[in-house]
């Protein structure tokens, strides 16, 4: 018998009688201002958040706060005068020198500050992880309260790769001292648009 078949046979033999799945539809938070909540949560975990009036305001913020001499990439055509529009068909290693990437979130979660991104909005899977700094454009109307609502929206969406990102990469492995910028971005900025 193959390992597969013997493992499955042992599991089948040993598993207890069926226990029903619980109903998880009852997880709700009290009415709240999700935008305010999002801002507080995200800045609380070391993220930077700006309410931007327009794409123009975002461009100005980028020019003022990031080194535009270095490589900036984006998937948003509206930002093409500050960023190079990235291609998914190149080798991931070619993004090693990216200083800043700017992408658009599919949704964001107020309870934990995380944004949901799929590979289509990333441009290339590696981009939000390899860039020295990450910026994400979030439409306020796409902010939900909790992860339950987030998955209700994601529902049966088909993607090859997707991820929640909830701030700059971090570690506290050395004596529990918090250090922002472990292997991923050193900073994460969220631009909120109405």
């Amino acid at each position: 018998m193959s390992s597969r078949d013997s493992i499955l046979a042992a599991v089948f033999k040993n598993q207890p009688p069926l226990s029903a799945l619980p109903d998880i539809s009852g997880f709700k938070v009290p009415e709240e201002d999700v935008v305010e909540k999002y801002k507080n949560t995200f800045s609380g975990i070391g993220g930077l958040v700006y309410s931007a009036k327009s794409m123009e305001a975002i461009k100005n913020h980028i020019r003022e706060n990031f080194d535009t001499e270095k490589r900036i990439v984006s998937t948003l055509p509206a930002l093409s005068d500050v960023a190079e529009i990235c291609s998914a068909s190149v080798e991931p290693q070619s993004f090693e020198d990216v200083e800043l990437s700017i992408i658009e979130a599919r949704l964001a979660v107020a309870e934990n500050g995380a944004v949901w991104l799929t590979e289509e909005v990333m441009g290339h899977r590696i981009i939000p992880y390899i860039s020295q700094h990450l910026a994400v454009v979030v439409y306020e109307s796409l902010i939900v309260s909790t992860m339950h609502e987030a998955y209700a929206k994601i529902a049966d969406e088909v993607y090859g790769f997707g991820g929640f990102i909830g701030g700059p990469s971090k570690t506290a492995d050395i004596e529990q001292a918090l250090v922002l910028g472990a292997h991923g971005p050193l900073s994460m900025t969220v631009y909120l648009i109405k």
């Binding site: 193959s2 390992s3 597969r4 013997s6 493992i7 499955l8 042992a10 599991v11 033999k13 040993n14 598993q15 207890p16 069926l18 226990s19 029903a20 799945l21 619980p22 998880i24 009852g26 997880f27 938070v29 975990i45 290693q93 979660v109 309870e111 934990n112 995380a114 590979e119 899977r125 590696i126 992880y129 390899i130 992860m147 339950h148 998955y151 994601i154 049966d156 993607y159 090859g160 790769f161 997707g162 991820g163 929640f164 990102i165 909830g166 701030g167 990469s169 971090k170 570690t171 492995d173 050395i174 004596e175 529990q176 001292a177 250090v179 910028g181 472990a182 292997h183 991923g184 971005p185």
Partner: protein
């Protein structure tokens, strides 16, 4: 090899440096407090734990079908699936995947399963170099030590010791111990590793049967750096990581990081479903004792574990003895209930490394009755004849004393007389109870004697 000594002996070594024990204790308690603050800020926290536990009960009861469903979906998604009965078979599979591609270097993100399988050593013997990319695991690897905590692998190390390791292995300036500077050095060094490795292995936090996707959670971003830069992506998972549907991730991702370190969610929760164009994706399902654990009704709930580490942070024995004292990859209370299933003789000491205070059970996000299982393991271990002989002898002596009023009264009298008249007979290093304790002053009479004198008369 440290593994030949038991928990009490190894804990005694750890306890020689009292300041370090206090520091270790405090660092972990601080994380426990962060967990509490975070849990208290989350509405319906207890209902969430209840839901997580019930979902996992369902998984355990229907694992066979979920595994088949998961396998079918993985294949549809273009992922190659393997099954491994034990560590040896798991390691052989990884080796075959790599050697077929002529790959001799791999980068790995945190995976307790591959630590348990001693994958790095197995591959090193066959000429394949593996680098652990989680910072704590990297530090433990260059120091040639296993992780002492599943979430915080080098929680027992001082920054000066890490500085010394970096000086030796990465050529940093001697005496450098600033955590930010050390992290930057590791970041630069490992970036080069990520850029040049053709293969990357990750663990799995949750595997969704419904969609065939698996979720990997990190704070550092190391799993993603490895996975998205490599051409061969491998994931190793224990059978119990299955969850039925994608929406159940909502429950587990709300609980995991809050329970682990008091953070609302891990910075990265990555959902891998299909390889990117030009990439290969392999997934290995590992049994390694899990199907056997399913057959033990008293212990099968330990398969619900989501490896958050909260039971370690809260455990008074773990905090004061250090993870390495458990001589097992997974230490602390959860390690002490998982390990005897794999090798009862080797791990017979671990269920005794507990005060049974129940704090672990109270914080467990999936409501595993950890302290009850510890107590039950003790009974199984004694019945099977694996308990320490001194413990068995003293338990028998106590059973005899407590079952006979005459022996009980004589023993009580003798004990009180010795404590009052010859304390040196008890307060010496041959009595394990005297270590780190003062023996109490003994009353002149027992309650029985007092009762017959005062109450019976009236």
């Amino acid at each position: 090899m440290k593994g030949t000594q038991d928990h009490a002996t190894l804990a005694e070594v750890f306890n020689r440096d009292e300041d370090r024990v206090d520091w270790h204790d405090g660092a972990l308690w601080w994380i426990r407090q962060k967990r509490d603050r975070s849990a208290n800020l989350t509405p319906q926290w207890e209902e969430l734990r209840e839901a997580a536990s019930a979902i996992k009960s369902n998984v355990i009861s229907n694992l066979h079908d979920y595994l088949l469903q998961f396998e079918e979906n993985l294949k549809k998604n273009g992922v190659k699936v393997y099954w491994a009965t034990d560590a040896e078979e798991h390691n052989q599979i990884v080796y075959k995947i790599l050697s077929d591609k002529n790959i001799n270097q791999m980068v790995k993100s945190k995976s307790m399963l591959t630590e348990e399988c001693h994958l790095n050593e197995y591959l090193a013997d066959r000429g394949i170099d593996v680098i652990n990319s989680d910072l704590g695991e990297y530090i433990q690897q260059i120091d040639n030590e296993p992780p002492s905590h599943i979430v915080l692998p080098c929680i027992h190390k001082k920054k000066e010791e890490i500085g010394e390791l970096f000086h030796e292995h990465l050529g940093t300036e001697k005496g450098l111990s600033d955590p930010t500077l050390l992290t930057r050095v590791a970041r630069n060094h490992l970036r080069n590793v990520f850029m040049t490795r053709r293969a990357a292995l990750t663990g799995v936090n949750f595997a969704v049967a419904e969609t065939g996707e698996y979720v990997v959670c990190t704070n550092e971003g190391n799993a993603d750096m490895g996975a998205h830069l490599c051409e061969v992506q491998i994931a190793s998972m224990g059978l119990e990581k299955i969850i039925p549907e994608r929406k159940h991730l909502g429950v587990f991702l709300r609980l995991l990081a809050r329970s682990a370190i008091g953070q609302p969610i891990t910075i990265y929760s990555s959902h891998f479903r299909k390889p990117r164009p030009g990439q290969e994706m392999h997934l290995i399902l590992v049994d390694k004792g899990r199907s056997e654990l399913l057959a033990r009704p008293d212990f099968r709930d330990s398969l619900k574990c989501i490896k958050c580490g909260s039971c370690m942070n809260t455990c008074p024995v773990y905090r004061k003895s250090g993870g390495l004292s458990y001589h097992n990859t997974i230490s602390g209370p959860i390690g002490a209930i998982l390990a005897p299933n794999l090798d009862m003789k080797k791990h017979a000491d671990l269920p005794f490394a507990s005060t049974l205070c129940g704090s672990c059970t109270n914080v467990c996000p999936v409501k595993i009755p950890i302290h009850e299982q510890l107590y039950k393991w003790r009974q199984v271990i004694v019945k099977e004849g694996y308990s320490a002989s001194r413990k068995t002898f003293s338990m028998k002596a106590m059973a005899l004393t407590l079952s006979s009023p005459d022996i009980y009264n004589t023993a009580g009298k003798t004990g009180r007389w010795i404590l009052n008249h010859a304390p040196f007979a008890i307060n010496n290093k041959f009595n394990p109870w005297y270590k780190q304790r003062n023996m109490p002053d003994s009353p002149e009479q027992s309650f029985g004697e007092w009762y017959s004198k005062n109450v019976k008369k009236s």
